[in-house]
Amino acid sequence: MLVVTAAGGPRIAALNEAAEAAGLSPGEPLADARAKAGDLQVRAVDQAADDLALRRLALWATRYTPTASPWNAENGADGFFLDIEGAAHLFGGEEKLLADLSSRLEDFGLPARFAVADTPGAAWALSRFHPAPCVVLPAGEEARALTPLPIEALRLSPETCTTLRRLGFKSVGLLLDKPRAPFAARFPAELLRRVDQALGRLDEPLVPIVAPPVYHSLCYLLEPIITQEAVIALASRLMHTLVHVLTRDDVGARGLRLCLYRVDGAVETIDIGLTLPTRNVAHVVRLIDLKLDALAAMQEAGFGFEAIGLAVTRAEPIPARQNELIEDAGDAGRTERCAALIDTLRGRLGPQSVRRFTAIASHLPERAEALAPVTDETPAPWPEQETEKPCPLLILPRAEPTEVTALVPDGPPRRFRWRGVTYDIADAQGPERIASEWWRNRSGHQPSQPTRDYYLVEDEDGRRFWLYREGLYGRETAAARWFVHGLFA
């Protein structure tokens, strides 16, 4: 027996058959239950685990249709909606789909109730309150089917239900006959909204568990497959079918998702991003192969995968052209190959590993640019250097402290020691003074960064370094600290 903590002490949330036989029912206070039956095994409800299990089940159900939406708390959080419009015929009709679904759920050891209706509200009501465990409602029959059901079938809050029952509205039918205006005046807007949603007068959008794909292709297997080669072969077949649709609509895939449905109900999802929209089967299959190499999905295949789905999550137009004529000729092919290369590198090395320089308007050298992951093909223009000021070829991730000997405290350095080596400076240029960005610290309480004096120094062997002295001598600090910040060619 599971209990949930509520106002007025713990109450029963769920119980097994033995407890039901003892005359207990959900919602009863635990104290009363203990009085009725002495030897109760009581555990607390783990709501988070329940939600997770429901989510997993809804993910599994995307094998039937891409739009699966698990119920939130106001729907009872114990089931999910499937939008099977346009998907049912793949299974030979709604009844056949339901039969398949129920037999599979039974195999998992999950008793379930099903209803198919034109509106989520009606389906919800029928699945909960209809005597049959499996109902398929013909179109336009919502009002008739809902009439005999109790008022709770409208997914109302408990307070509204209590008030309605007190007024004598025990079934939905009684409510439907009455004029709407008095209800609108006396009840929360929820009541009429739920009625309209159940009858299809008001749209109720489902929140899908995963973003619905633009194009989708799914393959059911008679025998589960385990090996990576088999998955690759199937993925290639699915991509071939997708390419026809993509070509028809003059679009290419920018994002793809491969779903592997395991026999035991778990789902492995692999997301693939592409730099340029593509319809190239070999390229996509190669990326999938790389991802499978990296992921441990194949090691956890268990008893194998019984269904595989490939979905295009992002599609972008690519103009139609004749591949055969301009293969390897001109720039277009090269740009495409470059994008393919970036995809491949990202697939194996991770999305953060392929980067490009982007300039940022800042005087502080370490802020003046960023290495951003490559996103699209048009890099932002690089600012022209206005003056011939020295810029190091390599910049250290953090400026490293160094011991410097200088003739005067605010003069150029003469000798410095860095990473255990002493360098005698033959020539120094500078200083280039870079003040802190005072506008960044206007609201903050931390003191602004001290001013830096940068020197470009060359040692006797021709190595060039970028040193800076932190703090203006005498004004900001008494003992200036020195740092190595960059290296020159």
Binding site: T335, R348, S353, V354, R356, L371, P379, L456, E458
Partner: protein, 260 residues
């Protein structure tokens, strides 16, 4: 190809030579590949192909403490490539920790547009090798550059083959001190030298001491070059930091070591 008839019958010297030349397509293609010239007659004439072979592995080994200089030399070579295609630079993360990461404004100061460069960060040597080979096989970039510490003979053969097949230059910065023998087309040892000054006494053009240590079909050599980032031009520098002297010294290598 038809068998050379001139070898069997009447010996016409010109005809025989022409037929023999037909038999040697490889050398012909070797000469005419897309070599990357330095633009310095002394170096280009010294190299068997009139420049760095366009499809091949080139190793750049820094002298002690001259890794930034060697990297700068590679950047200068990349900046001189005329093709507009992107350049792939493959660097391991540990290398970036030691020497810092490439700085876009600094690349721009050496004449290389940072937008052309795509930086690939790898976690270990295996990934680096894989990424380099991928980039070469794709044939998309104008050139591939990278840094690697250890490279055994077999890996270097793979890279050399991949670069030759793709017809792309692969410029590798070798950061390890002990070097195994490799199948690279050329190996250069790069040393830093005091930069050339402009007329105000400011650092103007970086200078490198180049030692061609090994060269396929060629001889080792040694030069002192400087690089003008505005004109993307290499030129020979005199050993003395005197402008008048360096002009008169012209384009003569400092010393040409001959190995039989």
């Amino acid at each position: 190809m038809a068998p050379p008839t001139a070898l069997t019958a009447i010996r016409n010297r010109a005809a025989v030579a022409a037929e023999l030349r037909l038999l040697l397509p490889k050398i012909q293609s070797l000469r005419s590949t897309n070599a990357i010239p330095f633009g310095v007659a002394a170096i280009d004439h010294y190299l068997p192909q009139g420049g760095l072979p366009g499809g091949g592995l080139h190793e750049f080994v820094p002298e002690a403490g001259a890794s930034p200089a060697a990297f700068g030399f590679i950047v200068a070579l990349l900046a001189r490539l005329p093709q507009p295609h992107p350049l792939f630079l493959i660097l391991p993360t540990y290398g970036m920790r030691d020497f810092g990461r490439p700085y876009g404004h600094g690349l721009s100061a050496l004449g290389l547009d940072p937008r052309r460069l795509i930086l690939v960060v790898t976690a270990h040597r295996k990934e680096t090798l894989w990424a380099i080979e991928e980039a070469l096989h794709s044939g998309a970039p104008a050139a591939v550059a990278g840094a690697i510490d250890k490279l055994d003979l077999k890996s270097s053969q793979r890279l050399q083959l991949a670069a030759a097949d793709a017809g792309l230059p692969l410029l590798l910065l070798r950061t390890a001190l002990d070097l195994e023998s490799s199948a690279a087309a050329t190996r250069w040892r790069i040393g830093a030298r005091q930069a050339a000054r402009d007329r105000f006494g400011l650092f103007a053009r970086p200078r490198w001491h180049l030692q061609l240590e090994r060269c396929h079909n060629g001889r080792p050599g040694e030069w002192l070059v400087e690089y003008d980032h505005v004109a993307h031009r290499f030129s020979l520098a005199a050993a003395l930091a005197d402008h008048a002297l360096s002009r008169s010294a012209g384009e003569i290598p400092l010393r040409q070591a001959r190995r039989s």
